[in-house]
Amino acid sequence: MHKALVTMGAALLLTASPAAAQNKSVKIGFVSTFSGPTAVIGNNMRDSFELALDHLGRKMGGLPVEVIYEDDQQKPDVGKQKTDKLIESDHVDFIVGYIWSNVLLASIKPAVDSKTFLITANAGPHEIAGELCSPYIFSTSWQNDQTPQAMGLYMNQKGVKSVFLIGPNYAAGKDMLAGVASTFKGKIVGQELTTWPSQLDFSAELAKAKAANPDAIFVFYPGKAGVQFLSQYAQAGLKGKIPLYTAFTIDELSLPLQKDLALGVPGAQEWVNDLPNEANKRFVADFIKKYPGKKPSFYGAQSYDAAMLIASAVTAVKGDLSDKEAVRKALERADFKSVRGKFRFGNNHIPIQDFYLQDVVKDANGDYVLKTVTTIVKDSQDNFHDKCPMK
């Protein structure tokens, strides 16, 4: 009994001491998927984050930066475990990453409870924009509904009268389909959610879409599933018959496998590699230089922005990360050069930003590349910011 008390006391001392000491480095935890079929995405995020650190001279506000990468295996329980570990045993100052909305939703509580700043570089479940918004949660991506909302608007412009929606059955999939439905003016003739991430054969869903005979099909399938969907869509003989509209289904990481199948399939996105601003030109050129044979993607751009956002805040508070209130205010100012041009936060810490129409083309070398066609919507803000108590 006595021994146990001593151990507990020692443990308390141990956990208490780092907070008392002045910061000697900036510790960042990075949670993403680094194994399994979607590891390509996590690696791209890590590559971009590392590139940002190179650009920052590996220092933020004069302090050296230490990054601890953790693999969430695309599983919510593992993601939460890794987040807990980063907070409780590594005592990180910031946590970045999160591709998957369901993983993020499982991981926000430990971050908020411990007042550790969490910056999601991709996932944008509606909860964190609305009722679960927090002074400690920021996003350098979007709220899930926003990108498909832009696609809905584009379908209106194209005169689409009816659409069939297909997406995966998890937090982001449901948000995405709700997003299209909120801006699309025509009729939604059917909606299918598929088991995620295990179901890869979409024959039953495609057959139903075909039978419903809509003007268009909208899908959201991130990662490899996007490749599988496009192949099966072509094999079902739908290419050229029922046009496809997408969100997060075609990107630089899936394109090398999708090839011709992606030609002529429009997508909406807040970042495209050809955005004409200086920060982006530097990001894209240096990425290709540092990682030959690889391409920057929107996942990477958001991670790059996350690093720059953190650096701007650490610099603003002159490396004193103990004053959480000051750090939060500095983060809210978003005083950094984003690769998507202008960047500002709404009251709920979700960016207010433009969304573009992107298209796939073959460049002079015969490579498949994405390019910006037009701006679909300017200064889009998510629909949930009213529900967020922060003003």
């Binding site: 390509v40 690696n43 295990s198 039953a204 075909k210 094999q235």
Partner: protein, 305 residues
């Protein structure tokens, strides 16, 4: 009506594809009494070989044929190098040993082909839909899968029921000791059966490749279904594997296709579309539970277990 026909074809295609995997698994399990978790790795290898050979030769069909041969050889090599050490040992040893093989193959593939995965593009004549009945179009590639798997099923039937090797296989499935006592070269027979099972898994993998793309660990999800089929059909019975695979294929596809609509009649649309995918993926396991309650040996038990 059109939809029903199409969904039935989807179910048939999926079921037949599962049959290829389950046939190899059930043969190996039934005759050698070996639990082979690495069966899914052979499925993955078939897909990787096909994507590589198709890119080299520029022909999908030629690539597929070469991949089939390559998986057969790999299967036989695995049997000689690794599986022989496991016969006659506890099932737990099999599970551990073959799980090790999964890790080995996944890592080997990562070293050889990289972590990104490959795609196996279809030739234009397979990448369209054909009219099968007036007004009903169906993916020509999925139709080709149905034709090929039916041909393989017929080949297996002839092999097992009408040839001398088949006689030995059947004899081995019902009484291994007796076959060995009668002077049959059991070692060679085992190598051949394992190679055949590997080739069937490889064929399933390479045929799935254009639909699902080629990636590390692609065999692990589908392996569970193959085991379910083996259990439902009765361990060691190819006929059982065929019947159970068709059951599973139909239940899975038709469940996904029509279950959400049924559920929507009872629940709100939002609740139904969320619950339906989860519930319909449970149907297969419900089927297995029901079969196990009434026929613990499986539908077509070979009788010696």
């Amino acid at each position: 009506m059109t939809l029903l026909v199409e969904q039935c074809l989807n179910g048939l295609q999926f079921g037949l594809l599962l049959f290829l995997l389950a046939a190899g698994l059930t043969l190996v399990f039934g005759i050698m009494d070996l639990v082979n978790l690495a069966h899914g790795s052979l499925y993955m290898l078939g897909a990787y070989f096909a994507a590589t050979f198709a890119a080299w030769t520029g022909s999908f069909v030629l690539g597929a044929l070469l991949a089939l041969g390559a998986t057969l050889l790999v299967g036989m090599a695995v049997e000689v190098v690794a599986m022989r050490r496991l016969y006659g040992r506890d099932h737990l040893d099999h599970v551990l040993g073959t799980f090790g093989l999964i890790l080995f193959f996944d890592e080997a593939v990562r070293l050889l082909w990289g972590p990104e995965g490959l795609s196996l593009p279809l030739p234009p004549w397979l990448n369209t839909a054909v009219q099968i009945l007036p007004g009903i179009y169906y993916s020509s590639y999925r139709l080709a899968i149905i034709v090929v798997t039916l041909a393989v099923a017929a080949f297996l039937y002839v092999l097992v029921m009408r040839t001398r090797i088949g006689m030995l296989i059947r004899a081995g499935a019902s009484n291994r000791e007796m076959v060995g006592a009668l002077g049959v070269n059991i070692k060679l027979l085992y190598t051949l059966i394992f190679g055949l099972g590997a080739a069937l898994a490889g064929l399933a993998g390479l045929m799935q490749a254009p639909i699902l793309t080629v990636q590390i660990g692609m065999g692990e999800n589908i392996l569970i279904l193959a085991f379910v089929i083996t259990v439902i059909g009765g361990i060691g019975s190819i006929r059982g594997a065929l019947v159970a695979a068709l059951f599973v294929g139909f239940i899975d596809t038709l469940g996904r296709a029509f279950f959400p609509d049924l559920l929507r009649m009872a629940l709100s649309t939002a609740a139904a579309s969320t619950a339906a995918p989860a519930l319909s993926s449970m149907l297969i396991y419900l089927l297995m539970a029901v079969v196990l309650v009434f026929k613990p040996e499986g539908l077509f038990s070979t009788g010696n277990k």
